[in-house]
């Protein structure tokens, strides 16, 4: 991975890749002449999950659409595996999951997946495989209008598992999903990413930290940071502690709901703090980080 417009990426992050990577070269893109992305450059070759973060309107979806070849850059170029994205050979190397469900009206779930399978050159048996994988077999005879938002998302996600590709562009794949299903989807994506490049956009900072190895932050159409997740540290670390019974040992702590708060210089101080409290007889029910350090990337 390397970047042209994000100078805060150390050279040590440039790994040996498998040759099928994304090369985004000084890309300016947008809609109907209105520019949303401004001279974005980065190169990704290492199979891993890259979480694309950014506030609403920052340009995440526009970036995905440009990388997928849907939007043609006004300036610059996108290459997949060393070839321009407008070549079908490049196109065949990636999957793109849109932020909307993309399920055709008038087709049942099974028919829709069979349709996607034909488009993507997958086999009919792959439809059965993904229906089992995503646990949607009981929905096979239903129409999209009969599905809940979560079920629709699940069916939508199923299509990216129909056929293996080298690169996956997943635009908010867990939006509108309940926590259990979202976790299952993240686990599937984690398995998927072992030998693949996965770009995964999300608003959820905790999810980003859970699933991503790298973070790519977009602000106002530009990459403001591209780094390993572990290198992203917040300006402060707030520990939240829930206890079974109030204790005088917590008198100096601030409150937020059921949590007693203590600001630390970093997560490495947490074990010592917890040991000290337990030594004073505090029965700890839960301890968690109250603020996600990735929040700082948004400000």
């Amino acid at each position: 991975m390397s970047t042209g417009s994000a100078p805060n990426v150390p050279d040590s992050l440039v790994p040996a890749g498998n040759g099928v990577g994304i090369d985004c070269r000084s890309v300016t893109a947008g809609y109907l002449g209105s520019r949303v992305l401004h001279r974005i450059s980065f190169r990704i070759t290492e199979p891993s999950i890259y979480v694309v973060l950014g506030p609403n309107g920052a340009g995440k979806t526009t970036l995905f659409r440009t990388l997928a070849g849907i939007l043609q850059p006004y300036e610059g170029e996108v290459q997949i595996g060393g070839e321009p994205i407008d070549r079908q050979s490049s196109r065949d190397r990636l999957h793109y999951l849109t932020h909307v469900d993309g399920l055709p009206d008038g087709l049942t779930v099974r028919e829709a997946l069979e349709f996607f399978a034909r488009i993507e050159g997958a086999q009919p048996r792959d439809v059965d495989r993904v229906m089992d994988q995503l646990e949607i077999r009981d929905l096979s005879a239903k129409f999209p209008s009969q599905l809940s938002a979560g079920q629709r998302k699940r069916v939508s996600i199923a299509r990216v598992f129909l056929r293996e590709r080298s690169i996956y562009l997943l635009d908010e794949p867990t939006a509108n999903l309940d926590p259990k299903v979202a976790r299952e989807i993240r686990e599937l994506i984690l398995k998927l990413s072992r030998e693949k490049i996965v770009l995964y956009s999300s608003h959820n900072l905790f999810e980003a930290r859970e699933i991503g190895r790298y973070v790519l932050v977009i602000k106002s159409g530009q990459i403001s940071r591209f780094d390993r997740i572990e290198n992203v540290r917040g300006s402060r670390y707030v520990l939240g502690i829930r206890v079974l019974q109030p204790s005088p040992a917590l008198a100096s702590y601030d409150h937020e709901g059921e949590y007693y708060l203590r600001e630390l210089s970093g997560p490495e101080e947490v074990p010592a703090v917890l040991r000290e409290l337990m030594a004073q007889g505090v029965q700890i029910r839960e301890a968690r980080e109250m603020e996600n350090p990735l929040e700082d990337l948004f400000t």
Binding site: Y31, L32, R65, A68, G69, I70, L71, Q72, D86, R87, Q88, R91, Y96, T98, H99, V100, D101, G102, L103, P104, D105, G106, L107, F115, F116, R118, I119, E120, G121, P144
Partner: protein, 241 residues
């Protein structure tokens, strides 16, 4: 972007779109077919002259109404991100539009085919014979004009849908397109009436007016189809959500 898939996949996309349009636009399809059959049967039963002079005039209207499923599917696919998915897999806007256009023509052909064949069956069963008015009316005017109007409605509908904000209801493109789609037929009919004001019109003049009407529609559709790359940018096909 180059073609994404084999001819089989393209045919499969077309056949699937036709099937979806038949399901999504079933009300329009059934309504257009049923009314054309009902009117044709009634007119054939009343008199051969009434059938030969009136039935061909109405057929384009039913063709346009019955083929609305194509535009419904296009509008829904745009809103729900299906077009975006297909663009990502290498389908060009022109190809997607051609898919809608062909679907519309197939649906219009179903309406016109059933309407004409059933009505003519009743017409002949009633003992009427083929007249030049009937031959010109059905063969030269009604059937080609129904298909031309359906193509016109589909083309205008696609442009209108993609160039405007999504709307629902009677004021949406889907709600208004049936009225716009029959314009070529109405304009042609007005031209025939205007030509007839100064006296009886010859078959040659009639054919000239009909041919011009359909020719203009064909040119209009082809020009819009060819200009699609310039006029309809890819981003117009993306879901506004």
């Amino acid at each position: 972007m180059s073609a994404p898939a084999t001819g089989n996949v393209s045919r499969s996309l077309l056949s699937l779109t036709i099937r979806r349009a038949s399901v999504t636009g079933r009300f329009f399809l059934v309504y257009g077919t049923a009314i054309s059959v009902l009117l044709g049967v009634l007119l054939a039963h009343v008199s051969g002259t009434s059938f030969a002079t009136s039935f061909p005039l109405f057929l384009p209207v039913f063709g346009v109404v019955g083929s609305m499923g194509g535009l419904l599917v296009f509008t829904s696919d745009r809103t729900k991100g299906v077009l975006e998915y297909l663009l990502a897999y290498g389908y060009s806007p022109r190809r997607l539009f051609a898919n809608v256009l062909l679907t519309t023509l197939v649906l219009a052909s179903i309406v016109v085919g059933i309407g004409v064949s059933v009505s003519l069956g009743v017409y002949f069963a009633e003992g009427h014979t083929v007249t030049s008015t009937l031959a010109i009316g059905v063969g030269i005017y009604a059937v080609p004009m129904a298909l031309a109007c359906a193509a016109f409605a589909s083309t205008v509908g696609v442009y209108w849908t993609t160039l405007s904000s999504p709307r629902l209801g009677i004021n949406s493109p889907v709600g208004l397109i049936p009225f716009i789609g029959i314009l070529p037929a109405l304009v042609t009919l007005f031209a025939i009436v205007a030509a007839g004001l100064s006296g009886p019109i010859s078959d040659r003049t009639l054919l000239l007016i009909l041919g011009s009407g359909m020719g203009l529609v064909a040119i209009f559709v082809i020009v819009l189809l060819v200009s699609m790359g310039r006029l309809l940018r890819r981003e117009r096909l993306l879901s506004p959500a």
